[in-house]
């Protein structure tokens, strides 16, 4: 029987790539390949023709505030097609500031308001201060049972709007952020302020997406033979131990 085909789109790979973000798409490709699926990873960016149909997973990473505005400017060409994608249940992961794209608007620290995709009912207002630091997240059901390790690197400010938040910042851990709920979820769209290669650093999160995309549960850890997964897992515990 021929292996199932899974198509991944890494959107704005060269613009929204603040800090090793490329690894999120790459590690998922690797995991799906390990499980025996045919995987195609497409990279698209500003000015490219993009046909959103046929993708099973779309990833957007984080960028500088100026890059983010350029990203929204370009993405507005595909607004309807992209929203249609999400409505039909395609898995989308947006890390760092890119999840702000799905709200109503972003007001930058100079007071300029930028219109966003308007899919979800929240607004982001940025301030000139910078928020950076290690953090530990807990995730709400139905997502993950495990703690997640992350790194926040965003403009200060706040989000307003009554929407479902998938993640909770563990107070005191890492850089000592205050407890708060964060991120966005809608159908199979998931967004968070966590930046960097979080699917590498958090094997449970990588497994969640791999399970969903393949429609099968992963083999138990003890039955896996790949060293990558072992290193990835040990790295996760090293960081978690350090951040407690």
């Amino acid at each position: 029987m021929e292996a199932k085909q899974i198509n991944i789109l890494h959107l704005y790979y060269d613009l929204m790539n603040l800090y090793g973000d490329w690894a999120n798409a790459a590690v998922l490709e690797r995991e799906l390949d390990y499980r025996g699926f045919n995987v195609r990873l497409d990279k698209k960016s500003v000015g490219d023709d993009i046909d959103f149909s046929g993708y099973d997973f779309i990833y957007i990473g984080s960028g500088t505030e100026r890059s983010f505005v350029a990203c929204m400017r370009d993405l507005s060409r595909f607004k309807d097609a992209f929203i249609e994608c999400i409505e039909t249940g395609v898995y989308v992961l947006a890390t760092g500031n890119s999840h702000e794209l799905f709200g109503q608007s972003v007001t930058d620290c100079d007071g300029n308001e930028h219109e966003m995709l308007g899919l979800l009912d929240f607004e982001t207002v940025q301030s000139a201060t910078r928020v950076t630091g290690d953090c530990v997240f807990s995730a709400k059901p139905p997502f993950y049972r495990d703690k997640l390790i992350g790194f926040i690197n965003r403009a200060g400010g706040s989000q307003t709007g009554e929407i479902e938040r998938p993640f909770s910042v563990e107070p005191g851990a890492g850089a000592g952020f205050k407890a708060c709920d964060e991120g966005i979820m809608y159908k199979n769209l998931l967004g968070t302020y966590m930046t960097g290669p979080l699917l590498v650093r958090n094997p449970p999160m990588m497994m969640y997406f791999a399970d969903k995309l393949t429609g099968e549960r992963a083999k138990h850890e003890s039955k896996r033979t790949d060293m990558f997964f072992e290193y990835q897992g040990s790295g996760y515990y090293t960081a978690l131990d350090e951040l407690k």
């Binding site: 060269d14 060293m227 090293t238």
Partner: protein, 432 residues
């Protein structure tokens, strides 16, 4: 009287600190707490040079000081490397007489890029050098465009009374004076750069390309040639923002590593900005070996090599060091040690490992790679996702076994890449 007491307190704390091996920022910190405006009351020399940017600050500061001294000038500078407001305060106060006069002909102060504005509010440099803007310590700095905004604010504090010395090859640095200075006008700005090697082709940018989009308008940029990372001869396809022709480009005069050449050209440009002839400055720096250099000799038994000190959380520094290793063109073993990520603040952040172009180590001369330290697992995962052959990679978690592992399992010269924070551990582990 204020100045008198400030100088006395600073001197006492500085010498006490020196005796007990403490850093040089504390005296300035204490004095500024009691006399916050004291720096403004000092009588400073006519030449005050500030050096800032992501990479190369310490090295280029040392070069400038050497060239100034060679030209007959006496210089006060923060040679201990304390480059935040308190460190600069210590430098000025310990160099001042009891009456508050800094008697040297010139002051050279290395300034942290995030603290530049605060420092300039207290001390106005006459020359400001900005070396480059790269991804560096994102845990502390956010990102390079955020740092660029901090530097823009710092330049605004200075007004027109400063001569800017900028890296022409780095679009983020050159964009700092836009739109204030008309493109190509360059009044009050001196540019340095490194010429093309003549290959004309852009080398691969590595794991990311910060030169892909214009820092001014975010349209795509094209390069006639690249030097390294986002340095090169760039032009924006949208707004037309492009590289300024460097006033100082001495690439042809010395056959030294690229990083040194940038520091060399920057130092010569600064000397030129304070009235020293560029060729005299270049001559005085010829063959100069940095005392605070980042290349340190290594020896394991009969095997020789180097440690290339590379800041953790700085993929640019790592990429430069890996390139240096390949340039040696010798069969070798490479140690990458990540044990504690920062010595100054607390972090367990490893995203930067994914920005480093470890594929460079696919080179056939690299026979073995040893990944060591607390983060060896993360390094191993990173290497698994690179093009480097699995067969040549070994892991050492416990550093006490590092030397035995290297002697028993590896061959060739030994090159190590790690940060200041892990340097002592490395030398301890390699000692028998």
């Amino acid at each position: 009287m204020k100045v008198f007491f400030a100088v006395i307190i600073c001197r006492i704390l500085y010498f006490t600190g020196k005796c007990i091996g403490r850093g040089s920022s504390l005296p300035g910190k204490v004095v500024l707490r009691f006399f916050p405006d004291v720096l403004g009351r000092l009588s400073l020399p006519g030449i005050i040079i500030a050096v800032t940017g992501s990479n190369g600050k310490t090295s280029v500061t040392e070069l400038i000081v050497h060239a100034l001294k060679e030209s007959g000038k006496s210089v006060a500078w923060n040679h201990e490397g304390s480059n935040q407001t308190e460190g600069v305060a210590t430098l000025l106060l310990r160099s001042a007489s009891l009456g508050g006069k800094v008697r040297s002909d010139a002051v050279v102060m290395e300034c942290d890029e995030r603290y530049a504005k605060k420092i300039f509010e207290k001390v106005h440099p006459t020359v400001l050098l900005i070396t480059n803007l790269c991804r560096d310590q994102l845990t502390r700095n956010g990102h390079h465009e955020f740092v660029a905004d901090c530097l823009r604010a710092a330049i605004d504090v200075l007004g027109d009374g400063v001569k800017l010395v900028l890296n022409a090859d780095d679009p983020y640095v050159s964009a700092l004076v836009l739109p204030k200075t008309a493109q190509g006008d360059g009044s009050g700005v001196l540019y340095f750069g490194v010429g093309s090697s003549g290959d004309g082709v852009s080398p691969a940018a590595g794991m990311y390309d910060d030169g892909a989009y214009c820092p001014v308008c975010k349209a795509r940029m094209t390069y006639n040639y690249r030097i390294m990372g986002h340095f090169g001869d760039y032009k924006c396809n949208g707004c037309g923002f492009s590289r300024n022709k460097p006033d100082i480009d001495l690439t042809t005069q010395e056959n030294r590593p690229l990083v040194f050449m940038y520091n060399f050209c920057a130092a010569v440009a600064v000397c030129n900005a304070v009235g020293i002839d560029a060729s005299d400055a270049a001559e005085s720096l010829k063959g100069y070996e940095l005392k605070g250099g980042r290349t340190v000799s290594l020896k394991i038994g009969e095997r020789k090599g180097f440690l290339f000190i590379s800041k953790h959380e700085n993929s640019f520094a790592y990429d430069c060091s890996l390139s240096r290793i390949i340039e040696q063109k010798k069969p070798c073993t490479v140690i990458v040690l990540v044990d504690s990520i920062s010595r100054k603040y607390y972090t367990s952040e490893t995203s930067w490992l994914w920005d480093i172009n470890f594929d460079l180590l696919s080179d056939e001369n690299v026979k073995n790679i040893v990944l060591a330290g607390r983060y060896a697992n993360e390094l191993a995962a990173r290497f698994k996702m690179s093009g480097v052959s699995r067969d040549k990679v070994g892991l050492v978690f416990d550093l006490s076994g590092l030397r035995d592992f290297i002697e028993e399992n590896t061959s060739g010269d030994v090159y190590a890449v790690t940060c200041f924070s892990d340097r002592v551990k490395l030398f301890k582990a390699l000692k028998r």
